[in-house]
Symmetry: C2
Subunit: 206 residues, 2 copies
């Protein structure tokens, strides 16, 4: 019996010590959701990437939606990071918001979160809602918000969102090939104009 060739199955039962398996599953889930979206990432693939039996995923998180919500939304502070940029010095808010927003997509820590949301939002209404709250920012809830200012912020967010998706999902040239600094240089002035309400053209004055 000692001659187990190569067909090695994992031992059943609980592991010794603190196995950190739960976090491994969350990490694998986030990575695969980011790469393939909600539907494209199967529970079996996630479990495999985490080096774990698929049934364990179910044991910890119940169903797939819960896993998604836990892995993607409950572990990030992105909304706060974005919103906090709106409070600072109004004369430099445009550049600050642009930089913060684009950094989220470059930073290896936050990048999988937004990718997972975007890759899932197009097909899952649930994920679309999360994405709305995360990147289109819940600016509406802020104190002293006027409809007009909210509209301006939404336009700025939509612009930044479009640039980020073009760069990181569509990989469209030349946007995907610029450095972040170059990109900020090009976009920040426009964001600034939106935030200050200075974006309306000559036709609006007629």
């Amino acid at each position: 019996m000692a001659g187990e060739t190569t067909a090695r199955r994992r031992p059943t039962g609980r592991r010794a010590g603190d196995s950190g398996t739960r976090d491994a599953i969350l990490d694998a889930a986030l990575a695969l959701f980011a790469e393939h979206g909600y539907d494209g990432a199967s529970l079996r693939a996630i479990a495999g990437a985490a080096g774990v039996d698929p049934a364990l995923v179910r044991h910890f998180f119940g169903d797939k939606e819960t896993l998604f919500a836990t892995a993607v939304a409950d572990r990030t502070t992105i909304p706060l990071q974005v919103l906090s940029q709106l409070g600072g010095d109004p004369s430099s808010a445009g550049r600050a918001l642009t930089t913060a927003y684009l950094r989220i997509w470059e930073d290896p820590a936050t990048r999988p979160v937004v990718l997972a949301l975007v890759r899932s939002a197009t097909t899952s209404p649930r994920a679309a809602e999360m994405l709305r709250d995360t990147l289109m920012s819940r600016a509406a809830d802020q104190p002293g918000m006027t409809p007009e200012r909210l509209r301006h912020i939404a336009l700025a967010a939509a612009h930044l969102f479009g640039v980020a998706v073009a760069r990181h999902v569509l990989r469209a040239r030349p946007i995907a090939e610029l450095t972040v600094e170059e990109l900020v240089e090009e976009v920040a002035p426009t964001i600034q104009r939106y935030l200050t309400g200075a974006h309306l053209g000559p036709a609006a004055r007629g």
Copy 2:
């Protein structure tokens, strides 16, 4: 045996006359791809919506990818519609491009095409490529194109893309609730600035 109750199967063999079935399949495919994306729309569901056996889809189009390409890309002139806006009067190109771009998403004839592309592009590289060519526009191939102008066009396209996705896919407020005219009013001046290269801020002059 004339008492066939309700379990009625479709007759086998060819139909009499011109049944237009091929187009029915293409229409159903486009609609379902638009609603659920490439992976979410199954061949069986498409065949069902077209009132046809799934094997007939295969008979006409071979595999799913071919069906997608045929239903989505090969039946639209969107790239041309968008590109043609770049050639006109430079002083009104911003508004013209904005209007044309946003109309594509509102028009019932072209709307399913862009929705299908967007809902599929996030998971299928193939669809991402089509989307790049369709909406981020193949401006690079145009005669007399400079890298600088290409960059400006790309930024304008990314902005419009972001606004359209926020409106029609994410349904983010307040962008989803404005009328097209209001939206054009807000966005067109910015697009105009990009197209004319007037978007760079004061910092760029230091």
